[in-house]
Amino acid sequence: MHLLLIAGFLGTGKTTFSIQVATECIRQGRKVAMLVNEIGEIGIDGQLMRELDLDVWEMSNGCICCTLAADLVPTLEKLDQEYAVDLILMEPSGAADPESILRTLVYYKGRPLESIYTVTLLDPLRLPELYEVVTPLIVTQIANANVLFANKADLATAEQLEDVQRIATEVNPDAKLLLVSARQGIDSDLLKEILPWKD
């Protein structure tokens, strides 16, 4: 069981992106579970879940500090024990930092996760503004990423993309920055970059 964390600020396109990743995995014959903050928001309706044979689990979005670990860990343990899942796609709240989520995994008592990988999505339309106001949040989201995606490529101007490049390099020069439009669909070669298996 692998864990793929899809981080990024509120409204950046995490759910849209996750559905693309899930669809690609299922096309490859893999079993995927999605953990999201709220079912029924965008696109994850019953119809889609049936079509994809996708299990979607809702995490509570109450007081993060009190409930996150308590919610996440038993769900992971249940997935480990009762479902033969290859990949868990987890979308934490856009106001959460990935580090604090990963810290809760010390309580996980199932079989060890084969890999943990963090993808952070950035919204070129708002990044400079968010970087100025919620600096620490954006910094942890970028710094904890294994790979960064600038989403909404269909809307972003060249200037906005330059800003994303500048901020990403400033915070996490080691992470690769890729450009996508989750809404228009993501090239499966790009998705392979972030999937744990290489086939």
Binding site: F9, L10, G11, E38, S60, N61, G62, C63, I64, C65, C66, T67, L68, A69, A70, D71, V73, A95, D97, S100, T104, Y107, R126, E129, L130, E132, V133, V134, T135, P136, L137, T140
Partner: protein
């Protein structure tokens, strides 16, 4: 004097001494949260709080009777249907919109509009907040507390169990309440694009908080009033924005509350490591710092230990998922760090819904050993 009243006075003295940074007969213990229904009623689910609230309150009271070392009173008789109203959010409940044993959730739909800053400035926060609750679908009827029932429960908690309320009225700081009412994304945009309006509205809110607190403090003389903070800290907001949008309001309201002769209990969720030194501005022993385990407790001791009482901070995840030994060890560590003066043993935020009784008992045991 009844046994309950005697206990009440003893506990009141204990808590007051700790809040004054003195050394009480023993470290006070403050524990409470949604798990407490289960200690007397192991089969109960969280939906019982919603579907049979009076039964739930009774179960919680019976749980406290099983744990007489706890000094502080539980939050009872809250109408769960309207609990999201405090955040101007919609409420989703176990047994209704959610599975029976899921925790209630608040959906920040962001019903406040950009024009509403002017509504706040022109009509006042009190008037506007009523209007906003109506927009959210909460009726006045639903929101009206059942005073008679509340009185009855308070009496039971005080006279039967002798439990003490650490704080009276709660004030969610302007930054926090607007970020919820407007929704976080939109509020951050407003801070960036129309900061003057945001500031003017926050000024109005702070002044109304102060007026309301003065009345409350004079009438009820609470040990402290509650100042709610979370997103304003350094996990989230840049220091520059903290100084502009958060700190001035914490400072202004706190100074006014203290001037009325009460203390201020800072319920600060999330991380505040970089902001802690600001709290040294307040007079010694006038505040209580109540972190949720995400702020580094060693740093809190270092920066604020000589300035105010601290409640700390057994992490909710440890209470829910750790062993009794781990919980005992954490509580022990807190006592080693803080010693016996100016410290209250507590969970970080509230005790989560499935924390086993053994873990609660382990924290209590460590505290009683001292």
């Amino acid at each position: 004097m009844t046994v309950g009243e005697e206990l009440y006075n003893q506990r009141l003295q204990r808590i007051k001494t700790a809040m004054d940074m003195g050394k009480p007969d023993r470290i006070p213990i403050s524990l409470g949260g949604p798990s407490f229904i289960r200690y007397s009623e192991p089969e109960a689910t969280l939906s019982d709080y919603v579907l049979r609230p009076e039964w739930a309150d009774d179960a919680v009271i019976r749980s406290y009777a099983m744990l007489p070392e706890i000094d502080t009173a539980p939050a009872l008789s809250g109408n769960k249907r309207t609990s999201g109203a405090m955040w101007f959010a919609k409420t989703k409940l176990p047994g209704i919109e959610l599975p029976n044993d899921a925790l209630w959730q608040y959906d920040e739909v962001g019903m406040m509009t950009a024009d509403d800053y002017d509504t706040i400035i022109n009509k006042g926060w009190g008037t506007f907040s009523k209007e906003l609750l109506t927009r959210l679908g909460y009726s006045e009827e639903d929101l009206k507390p059942d005073f008679e029932y509340m009185k009855k429960m308070q009496k039971r908690v005080k006279e039967e169990l002798g439990l003490v309320n650490m704080s009276g009225a709660a004030y969610i700081m302007p930054f926090e309440i607007l970020s919820a009412a407007r929704s976080l994304t939109k509020f951050l945009r407003d801070m960036y694009r129309m900061p003057d309006k945001v500031i003017a509205a926050m000024d109005v809110i702070a002044d109304e908080y102060i007026a309301s607190a003065q009345e409350h403090i004079r009438e009820h003389k609470p040990l402290s009033v509650f100042s709610g903070n979370g997103r304003g800290g350094c996990q989230f907001l840049s220091m520059k924005k903290f100084e502009k949008f958060v700190w001035p309001y914490i400072k202004k309201t706190t100074d006014a509350f203290i001037a009325e002769g009460t203390k201020v209990l800072f319920h600060n969720d999330a991380k505040w490591d970089e902001n802690l030194s600001y709290w040294r501005d307040f007079p010694k022993a006038s505040c209580i710092f109540d972190p949720d385990s995400l702020t580094d407790i060693v740093k809190i001791k270092e920066v604020l230990g000589d300035y105010m009482c601290v409640t700390g901070d057994v992490p909710p995840a440890l209470l829910e998922l750790g062993t009794p030994e781990e919980n005992y060890k954490y509580a022990r560590g807190l006592i080693d760090l803080f010693g016996h003066s100016g410290f209250i043993m507590s969970s970080g935020c509230s005790v989560p819904p499935h924390a086993p009784l053994e873990n609660i008992k382990a924290v209590i045991a460590a505290t009683i050993e001292g």
